[in-house]
Amino acid sequence: MKLVECGLIAAVVAGCTSGAAGDLPPAGAAGTAGMGAQSSTDPTSPTSPTNPTDPTNPNNPTHPADPLATAGHYALRRLTNREYTNTVQALLFTKQTPGAAFQENLPGSSGFTNDSQALDISSALVASYYAAATTLAKEVIGSKGTAGGAYAKLVVCDASQATCAGQTVSTLAKRALRRPVSAADLDDKNGLMGVFSASGTFDQGLHDVIVSLLMHPEFLMIPVVDTASLDPTAVFALDDYEVASRLSYFLWQSMPDDALTASADQGALHTPAGLRAQVTRMLTDARATNLKNVLRDEYAGLLSLARADLTQLGQSNALRDAMVGETDAFLADIVDNDRSPLTLLTGTQSFANKTLADWYGLSFPAGANASVFLPLPSTRTGIGSQASVLINTAGGSPTFTNPIKRGHWIANRLLCINPPPPPPNIPPLPPASTEHPTVRERLDAHLNTPACKACHADMDSVGLGAENYGPFGQWRTSYADQAPVDASGTLPGDGTPFADSAGMYLALGASERARTCVALQFMKLALSRDLGTEADQSTASAVAKSGVTGTSHFSDFIWSITTTAQFLKQTGEAP
């Protein structure tokens, strides 16, 4: 979906309609403050009419003028392989990683692998699911008798008692299906107790129920349903359990834990305070490292770099690991220390071990552990200027950089510009010639066709803007042939000029479009879909205004995303 141009992004959609239903489902009639909460004059109170992050605040710009356009439709999707592994580990207390052997997930148009449009289910994958289910079930039964093992954690009653089977199955099913179970779910003929009873023994029954649950569509997929699901003109709110699932797969890439489920049981996720409390708790939990890993592997795109062999390019894999480690530590610092998400664009610390510090020419503290990643003052700005990203987008040559590849990454990831794919049979860049000695001149010559230039104008200016960084991310002012590097240009859209690569990354940090793009990228990850409507841009812009600033905090930013209509509501679909 092609995004609207930056001219429209800059125009913030005028507030919200006064008295409109808040982003969270109202406890009363439309037009109320919602949630049954009383307004406060304290501007820091979440119920204050002047608190811009208060989702019940009618002046909160995340209130949509058009609820239908804003809520959007989240398509039913399956768990990604990473989510599957995390979920079974949490559900069955296993250390196995079955998802690693499934068919590889590829990113969708959102840029993330949890994109619902990219997650199909093949026969081969279903066979893998079944094989994993039986293996995991056998492991649980095999742990019987082990203190603290999976069996002991799942069977907390006396198996010889008649009620134990129902209690065990019911508890397990609620966790696996991520919602309360119904009488139909547990039916002793056609439901899970029917599976249990047909097995003959308690242990075989538990084994078979585990397999059944791991093949259940509401385990493997994340549905959102409502009585209004079949009305494309309707907008409905997710229930507490659906909010809990969406939240946990956003922040942990895993199922809700018992505390989050309890919060859903109490209806607390429909209150700002309740939702806020869970977001804060989840971001300070160790499982938030999964969010950091997704950002590293997919937002920064470093999964391929982590698998690459840099010795093929004359460098060491220790350097590779140091580069990936920097971005990993940088992202962890933002998540773990509740930094502002703006740090993604403006952070000026390099997290470097000795190897990377030497590479960057930074002074590593004497006596410090050479393998630890320490924050060191740096002249680089933001994630785009880190060596990991630069080398990953350089094009794979030890000698030359590819401004088109780099430009595409910057445009797509940092500015949310999505150029359409190139037409077929595109010729390669011509080699350097007397007529066009520099890469800038060759690009211009290559793109003489107006149709090509229309897209490349957005990419090439920032791709060339990164030319002060060589193929391995080191600063340079001239090429190997001594020709000077010209990394000057302007940002697409607002035309902010920059004189060199350092200037470009500074300009990106100040760019409203880039800040809005940060919000948009996180929203795509949270919602498992690509975003690009005017309403999406408007919401992202509003989230960025309060959440992607020099003084904001990561937790506030995440919370503001979780209070948007896009996160908490859904449109129906044609039957």
Binding site: A75, L76, A100, A101, F102, Q103, E104, L106, P107, G108, S109, S110, G111, A118, D120, I121, S122, S123, A124, V126, A127, S128, Y130, N190, G191, V195, D208, V211, S212, M215, P217, E218, P223, S229, L230, P232, E298, Y299, A300, G301, L302, L303, S304, R307, A308, D309, L310, Q312, L313, V389, N392, G395, G396, N412, P419, P421, P422, G572, E573, A574
Partner: protein, 480 residues
């Protein structure tokens, strides 16, 4: 639902390394994901010391692409015209793990042996080849089978004395070397001695025991369908279709194995010097193993076998104790090291060259044993009535390509793949230069229902070593 991954989606992903061959391999592997009701087996055979692959000598590459016939069969296959329809000859297959090991400083033999079954580059480049962290392919398959057994049979066990043994380096399980069984008698005692001479039905699968395990998810899908809009229903239907297919596959009756308990082999390696193999006919020992393998497959005692046919230090192995009809141009094998036979030719400058003819005789001798196994597997049947051979993949190849002391990057070793007519098309010669040995294992994995995403035991390289094919190893299907 078939989701087409468009190029836009590829470009939308950041980073520059997009594994395009992976998409092709995913699409073509789906058809092989579900195993048939007969079990599938794997036999991996290592032929020692390399062979003559120089194009100027009429050795392995005479057959063009197409059917293998008596008229075009290469020298080593010429005595076996009756079995050419069972064999596919892959010409010029590369071995990227081996090449990488060489690049890291390994010798031609020392680096090659551990890479052959494992696809891994050893961390330790000594001839002990320690530092393999995972499983070799035969072990990987064995772990997916009901009995979980991997069988490793060899010509010799450990190194020292009469020369370095290949057998000890090839197969790895849980990062440890697997010691081969070299004595048919002890092999018999381990697996066949207590075999009941009667039908042995396989135990029912978990699904057969309780089909409700998948009935509940199917019912849940049907219930959920009614609450979803059209586009979401399509996604759910995709799952429902695949789940229904799975139920059909699982619901097929388990095979009933019928086999006869074999007699005790007459060759007992415990009575002879192992490494020298003097006094114990090599052929008799290896053909005894073949007979037991055929019975074991029919009885479904195990489904994964690896065999190492020789070592660098083999000598007087043959002692003339093999069919004279295998001699090529009168070149008989008498008192010679296998190493000498394969490495010293008219082209080598080393003293004591024997010419390439004894190498061809030696290759024929090894292939005689491969064909012996083929015929024994052809003579026994699976529950469906198929010959066991038709449900078995046999591969036989070298890990050192040019036996004439040209241990450079793999020029393309000849590799034989035999059997498997129920899911492969044997009986031809094909140019395998676009493929790697790890692609072959990846292909086998699909045919054997292993459901692995790729066979990448070595780190992904930015470019394939020393080859311009542009393909990454381990994720491309070889058209067998």
């Amino acid at each position: 639902m078939n989701f087409k991954i468009t190029r836009r989606h590829l470009l939308a992903a950041s980073g520059g390394f997009l594994a395009l061959p992976l998409f092709e391999s995913l699409a073509s592997r789906e058809a092989n994901a579900a195993p048939a009701s007969d079990p599938r087996r794997l036999v991996m055979i290592h032929l020692p010391n390399g062979t003559v692959t120089r194009m100027e000598t009429p050795t392995w590459f005479s057959a063009p692409d197409g059917p293998l016939t008596a008229a075009n069969a290469p020298i080593p296959l010429q005595p076996f015209s009756a079995n050419l329809g069972d064999i596919t000859l892959l010409r010029a297959l590369t071995q990227s793990a081996r090449d990488q090991a060489l690049k890291n400083g390994a010798g031609g033999h020392g680096g090659s042996k551990p890479c052959f079954f494992t696809g891994q580059v050893p961390q330790n480049l000594t001839t002990d080849a320690s530092g393999i962290s995972g499983d070799s392919f035969d072990v990987m398959y064995a772990k997916t089978t009901p009995n979980g057994r991997n069988i490793y049979l060899g010509n010799s066990s450990q190194g020292g004395g009469d020369g370095v043994a290949y057998a000890y380096e090839l197969s790895h399980k849980n990062g440890q070397k697997v010691v081969p069984e070299i004595n048919p008698v002890s092999f018999y005692n381990a697996y066949f001695k207590d075999l009941a001479a009667s039908n042995m039905p396989a135990p029912p699968s978990d699904y057969a025991r309780n089909p409700k395990t998948l009935d509940v998810p199917v019912a849940a899908i049907n219930s959920l369908r009614s609450e979803l809009g059209k586009a979401d229903r399509v996604r759910l239907d995709s799952y429902l279709t695949s789940l229904s297919d799975l139920k059909k596959t699982l619901g097929a009756q388990p095979p009933v194995a019928t086999c006869t308990k074999p007699g005790m082999p007459s060759v007992d390696a415990a009575t002879a010097n192992q490494n020298g193999l003097r006094g114990m006919p090599y052929f008799a020992r290896m053909t005894a193993f073949n007979s037991l393998i055929a019975t074991a497959f029919q009885c479904d005692l195990f489904r994964s076998v690896a065999i190492s046919f020789g070592s660098e230090g083999n000598y007087t192995t043959y002692d003339g104790a093999y069919p004279a009809s295998l001699n090529y141009n009168g070149a008989a094998l008498t008192i010679q090291y296998d190493h000498s036979v394969s490495h010293h030719s008219p082209i080598s400058s080393e003293a004591g060259s024997y010419g390439y003819e004894p190498n061809m005789t030696r290759d024929r001798m090894h292939l005689y044993l491969v064909v012996d196994l083929i015929n024994k597997l052809k003579a026994v049947s699976d529950p469906s009535g198929s010959a066991v051979l038709d449900n078995t993949i046999i591969m036989a190849g070298f890990c050192v390509d040019d036996g004439q002391h040209n241990s450079g990057p793999s020029l393309g070793t000849p590799m034989l793949v035999a059997g498997g007519k129920n899911f492969m098309k044997p009986g031809r010669s094909m140019d395998a230069s676009p493929y790697d040995l790890n692609d072959l294992y990846f292909t086998f994995a699909g045919l054997l229902g292993m459901n692995i995403a790729s066979f990448h035991p070595i780190p992904q390289t930015l470019k394939p070593y020393n080859k311009a094919t542009g393909r990454m190893s381990g994720s491309t299907v070889v058209p067998l």
